[in-house]
């Protein structure tokens, strides 16, 4: 075996037979410190001129082994740590974990808590897509949209701060419900946000979507077919852009998602522009879900009565939720104790990343950035 450093420094590759061969290719490192990787992703790419021949992700720069940590945390404690996986949909991660614990304990969550959770989920999804939208435009060289996206995102974080107490890693969900009741201003603030969002969203199309340069940069770039998307385990907007039905909210509804009306956004092109459009249209769907629920928050408890120390019965529990990036699975194996015996997070970014080479191979270096931007990678989510 040769170490990665050797391969990188000496420009050698290990042939299938095990011997070294000098390929003479231009091997460059994208990351771990690079403006386009939005984190500590490290891609070793082989170039032929401007054309990408090979992409090899090197992961682990932010691997904290949350799965191992969770084995020593109780069922109440481990939820907070999952905020640090996909920090942009922290709330949805917490939601998945809490649902898994509730499934094991068979806790009946009050309806009010369910509606609040769904509202927060959708707000998180919009916030995440807003950030992605700005960062995506920045990947393609337009800086201004980033700040405009943050203007709207800031409103959401304000709402989060008011009700949950934190802006990014909320830890608002506890097994059995939510930690606090919503703030009295919650509904009014959200309505204000929706008005503002609707008055600004058309600007997004003016600045980015309709722009001829943007369309040329993304259309037909990073294409993945429906079969490949399934085979690579893609989920979320990446899969839906290829026409794979993968919205967990529709396929396996949880909480109150079967009572609200929304569309599963499907595109067929499977290129970067399709992925872009799926996310932009998803924001509209999330707004529609929020509008349906915001006036219908039922009265009642926000938390079910639970024991102080939670003990899951012996067995295996798996929940899947739809985060902003795709399908998040939480797999808890319990031996009947107060801590999980083994916990596994099936993160959406990890599978989506594995399809990157397939998508960007043969394209230009600039196409790689467009593809990476539309994959919406959050590195702690991949590394966990």
């Amino acid at each position: 075996m040769y170490t990665t450093t050797e391969i990188l420094e000496q420009k050698i590759q290990v042939a299938p037979t095990g011997e070294l061969q000098d390929t003479g290719d231009l091997v460059i490192n994208i990351g771990p410190q690079h403006p386009a990787t939005h984190g500590v992703l490290h891609l070793v790419i082989t170039l032929d001129g401007e054309t990408v021949k090979k992409i090899e992700p090197h992961l682990g720069y932010i691997h904290r082994s949350i799965e191992k940590m969770c084995e020593s945390l109780s069922y109440r404690q481990f939820i907070y740590s999952t905020s640090r996986m996909d920090y942009l949909s922290a709330h949805i991660n917490n939601h998945a974990c809490a649902m898994c614990v509730e499934k094991g304990l068979q806790i009946e969550v009050p309806r009010r808590a369910m509606v609040i959770r769904v509202l927060m989920d959708e707000l998180t999804r919009i916030a995440s897509h807003e950030l992605w939208w700005g960062a995506m435009a920045m990947d393609l060289g337009a800086f201004t949209p980033f700040f405009h996206a943050f203007r709207e995102r800031e409103k959401i974080t304000d709402i989060m701060e008011e009700s949950c107490g934190a802006r990014l890693t909320m830890n608002y969900i506890v097994p059995g419900g939510v930690m606090n009741d919503i703030h009295p201003d919650f509904q009014q603030k959200i309505k204000e946000f929706i008005t503002q969002f609707k008055s600004k969203i058309y600007e997004y199309d003016e600045m980015v979507t309709g722009n001829i340069i943007f369309q040329n940069r993304t259309k037909g770039v990073g294409r993945i077919s429906k079969e490949d998307a399934i085979s690579y385990g893609c989920s979320g907007p990446v899969a839906r852009a290829s026409g794979v039905r993968s919205d967990i909210r529709k396929l396996y509804p949880y909480e109150v998602y079967n009572e609200v009306e929304f569309d599963e956004i499907l595109e067929t092109a499977g290129d970067s522009f399709a992925r872009y459009m799926v996310r932009v249209r998803e924001m509209h769907q999330s707004i529609s879900i929020i509008e349906q629920l915001i006036d219908n928050i039922p009265e009642g408890d926000f938390q079910a009565k639970t024991k102080a120390v939670l003990k899951l019965p012996k067995g295996e529990f798996y929940t899947r939720v739809e985060t902003a990036r795709g399908e998040l699975g939480v797999y808890i194996i319990s031996e009947g104790g107060t801590t999980p015996y083994r916990i596994k997070f099936r993160s959406p970014g990890f599978s989506n990343l594995s399809a990157l080479e397939h998508m960007a191979k043969g394209g230009k270096l600039g196409d790689l950035m467009a593809t990476m931007g539309t994959l919406d990678l959050v590195i702690p989510d991949i590394d966990r």
Partner: protein, 358 residues
Amino acid sequence: MFSLQGITKGVHTWLYSNMSSTTALVVECAIVMLLSIGLFAILGLVLVLMERKVAAHMQIRLGPNRVGPWGLLQTTADTLKLVMKEGLTPDGADKILFNLAPFVIMIVAMLILAPIAFASGFQIWDLNIGVLFVTAVSSISVIAILMAGWASNNKYSMLGAMRSGAQIVSYELSAGLSIISIVVLTGSLQISEIIESQRNGWWLFKGHIPAVISFVIFLIAVTAETNRAPFDMAEAESELTAGFHTEYSGMKFALFFLAEYINIFIVCAIGATLFLGGWMPLHIGNWEGFNHIMDYIPSSIWFFGKTFFLIFLIMWFRWTFPRLRIDQLLNLEWKYLLPISMFNLLLMAVVAIMGWHF
């Protein structure tokens, strides 16, 4: 009416009457040198601040506002910081070329300054092939970029430099053709004559639609030639981190940074001279009264006003558009701009021969 012409004339005659002609020439050269270096320094500071302010307001921010009133001294502070930083030379770099490149790019920028008329009678060298000189010399800047990219011994720099080479060489064509379309109208390559020919109106208005088309093409081409977004393939920070100047630091980086802004100023000055009449005030045909009022505004203000308007346009492009891909960039030039500008040149020639322009 205030004019710089009197001052320059006065200095010239005083020098030549008090010294031998050789000494006077040397002294004049020294004065010009100091003036142009001073101009560079001031331009660098002003343009960087302007860019940051323009960007900030488009991005619904305030921009620099802490150092000095309205952040006016921000760039000065940044420059001081850059001067104090260590200028690293990487071990694997080609030391001579690496250290030479920033100076080459500055020298090129300074050379183009020569034929530019800043105000009525305020010009360093009114040579009779002024426009040709500008197009010829501005091509040299690509050599500096290639030097920097090659000598850095860095793959990012290398890619950036190669992209820049392909880009500048191809965009020279349409920039040149749109300049030539004005030369066709004027019949002269001398800057002063081109300005003089716009005494009764700027070419942008006098030359009908072909002049407008060539003005737009000129703007696009010079944006590409100065490596500005949306054509900043040489830097492309989301792809190549910083492109050809990835390895530079401290003052050597500052020189590249400065040269970028000086180049913008120069190409905008050329554009203002060719299409908007340089220092020539806004004159409309034979409206004597109107023209007379316009003449009261000093010519230097006209020149800088027009130039800064064009600079603002280029900054506006940068803070609005995403970046093109390298093959699309070349497609745009070879499939759109070049055919259009060639056809446009033909039209312009017809207009000039038939005397249809005003």
